[in-house]
């Protein structure tokens, strides 16, 4: 039974190897890739149900018991995000293979894509700081290859800064892990929850903020977000959608995981809330200044990260649960928005909002797909963004942090404004010619499926929030996580 928890990592790894073997047949590669992605979704959903009813599944890799060996921990937080990210990965993969001019472009693509999926799954499931570093490396190295896959000169140069930032963050993460190991003698997260108690408060706070900063680079929080709006928009659409939906959120996941378990606080952390506020406002102001769909959306990624950090900053069960709901909503909605943006580029030839007009008349399907996702991003009821933001505001009220609640609502209004800018600039107006444009069917289906998942999240908001609250309780309650990994006596 416990081996099921390793499958989300093993399936994509095996698929990556297989696709390399059958490289001669692109059709076979495609079948293996999509099959592996769908199988991962099935396993993740099975885990989602199983973990909630039977309790967390812990695998001690190689039979070495924690804290000596490496533990894989499928707890509620991990499986929630695992299910969401495998769904996003599968939808984006279908979108990617349905694009025009795919044959030569896709050579080797599937292997790298599955490696990325394996890295994401490992980052979510690992219960060990060093393995978390390795998972980030797998994920990021795959992302470097995807970004530069068949890139021309200017794209290559734009992505170099992304790669360099990634490497600097990795170096700092490694250093931080080394320092944590120096003071505690362990890198097992469950073991660290106890051992860090013996560390002097000053050193402990230093390590906590160092870890926050390192993952903050990957999550693109203020003031460490500068690399994101430059590197994301230049990549091919499926890659950007995947990065926008998933990669930064894995950084946020690492922040939530480490801050709640290793550096808990009894009261709201003001510095974290200030960072959250700046991230929201600076991100959304950056978005308003842009004139290209993908660049606008890229700045919104930054802005929305602020909401997640805000939920975490309250350090209450309600706040962390709201942050988890918000991460899930963002993975789906952000990916679907980028996919629609890519479809507009595909049908119109450009994503500059000044150059495109009247898409709503030429291809109404794109407008239908864009509208729910955009309203959801702005937090309009009854969409999923509203659910997440309502939970955040409620958590803010009970933590009595009025300022950050006000800032978050203000940022929401600005988000709505910038969404209307895309809507007014791209979808409304008189089209330059009246011929209905051809929307590739597979790409539209893939986008539609993600949009529908977003709506399902909104409809199933209550069970989702309850699940997230149980997940947050596992994180916040003293000793629960340790009990999963080290047994009751640990």
């Amino acid at each position: 039974m416990t081996t099921m928890a390793t499958l989300p990592i093993v399936i994509p790894l095996a698929a990556a190897a297989l696709t390399l073997i059958v490289q001669k047949s692109l059709r076979l590669e495609r079948i293996i890739g999509i099959g592996a992605s769908l199988a991962s979704v099935a396993v993740a959903i099975w885990l989602l149900v199983e973990v909630d009813t039977q309790g967390a599944i812990v695998v001690q890799v190689g039979g070495w018991a924690a804290p000596i060996g490496i533990s894989l921990v499928a707890d509620r937080l991990a499986v929630l995000l695992l299910a969401t990210s495998t769904i996003a990965l599968a939808a984006v993969l279908v979108y990617a293979v349905s694009q025009k001019s795919t044959d030569e472009d896709l050579r080797g693509f599937h292997a790298v894509y599955q490696m990325l999926a394996a890295g994401v799954a490992l980052a979510l499931l690992t219960g060990d700081l060093f393995t978390l570093f390795v998972a980030f490396e797998i994920m990021l190295t795959a992302s470097y290859v995807l970004l530069t896959h068949r890139a021309g000169g200017s794209e290559t140069r734009a992505t170099i800064s992304y790669v360099v930032i990634g490497l600097v963050a990795s170096g700092l993460l490694l250093t931080t892990i080394g320092l944590i190991y120096a003071v505690t003698g362990t890198v097992n997260i469950a073991d660290l929850t106890v051992k860090l108690d013996a560390v002097p408060p000053g050193v402990r706070a230093g390590l906590g903020w160092l870890l926050f900063m390192v993952f903050g680079i990957k999550a693109a929080i203020f003031p460490l977000f500068f690399w994101l709006p430059d590197s994301y928009p230049v990549a091919p659409t499926p890659v950007t959608a995947l990065f926008a939906g998933l990669l930064t959120k894995i950084g946020v996941y690492a922040i939530v995981r480490t801050q709640t378990l290793l550096f808990p606080s009894d009261e709201p952390v003001t510095l974290m809330l200030v960072i959250a506020g700046f991230t929201m406002i600076v991100g959304v102001l950056g978005a308003i200044a842009q004139k290209d769909i993908k660049r606008i959306l890229s700045f919104h990624i930054v802005s929305q990260i602020g909401y997640m950090i805000m939920g975490l900053g309250f350090f209450t069960v309600g706040g962390v649960a709201a942050a988890i709901v918000f991460i899930i909503h963002q993975i789906i909605v952000k990916a679907s928005l980028f996919l629609v943006g890519g479809l507009v580029e595909e049908t119109e030839g450009t994503g500059a909002i000044d150059a495109v007009d009247g898409v709503a008349r030429r291809s109404p399907i794109l407008a239908i797909l864009f509208l729910p996702a955009a309203l959801s991003l702005a937090g309009f009821p009854p969409f999923s963004g509203f659910v997440g933001k309502l939970a955040l505001v409620e958590a803010g009220f009970s933590a009595q942090s009025w300022a950050i609640v006000g800032i978050s609502l203000f940022a929401s209004v600005l988000t709505l404004f910038s969404m209307t800018k895309i809507w007014g600039g791209v979808f409304w107006g008189a089209p330059k010619n009246d011929t209905p444009s051809h929307v590739p069917r597979g790409m539209a289906y893939a986008t539609a499926s993600l949009v529908i998942v977003g709506i399902v999240i909104a409809l199933g908001a209550e069970p989702l929030i309850e699940y997230a609250e149980r997940a947050a309780t596992d994180l916040m309650a003293e000793g629960v996580y340790r009990g999963f990994v080290l047994g009751a006596g640990g």
């Binding site: 060093f130 490396e137 190295t141 470097y144 170099i160 990795s170 892990i177 190991y181």
Partner: protein
């Protein structure tokens, strides 16, 4: 011993950061390598009791080196090696496509810098 390691790591980090802030990509890559080495040294320095065999059985309690940080460093070195090789290939591609080894200016910075030029 530990002080020497710590000082070396500090020098590596300082030099690496300096090189990282240069405009030429080749220097940036060397800087990244130095930072990675500094991180590795810090992990090495985080173990206790150097110079003893990393075996528990034959020695008195506590009189053994910690083998874990060497395993960690080995993993980190392999990862750094792979990614550096990739970055070098990328730098070569960038150089052969654009004929320059310099990192591109930030697009926002360029926009702001040219704001005054426009009438």
């Amino acid at each position: 011993m530990t002080v020497t390691l710590a000082l070396t790591a500090g020098v590596l980090f300082a030099t690496g950061t300096f090189l990282l802030l240069q405009k030429r990509l080749s220097r940036i890559i060397v800087g990244l390598g130095l930072i990675a080495h500094g991180a590795n040294l810090i992990i090495l320095g985080s173990g206790r009791r150097p110079g003893l065999p990393p075996v528990i059985e034959d020695s008195a309690a506590g009189a053994y080196s910690d083998p874990l940080e060497q395993a960690l460093v080995l993993t980190a070195i392999v990862i750094t090696f792979g990614v550096t090789a990739f970055l070098l290939a990328l730098a070569y591609r960038s150089w052969s496509e654009t004929g320059s080894d310099e990192v591109e200016d930030d697009t926002e910075d360029v926009r702001i810098a040219h704001k005054g030029d426009q009438p």
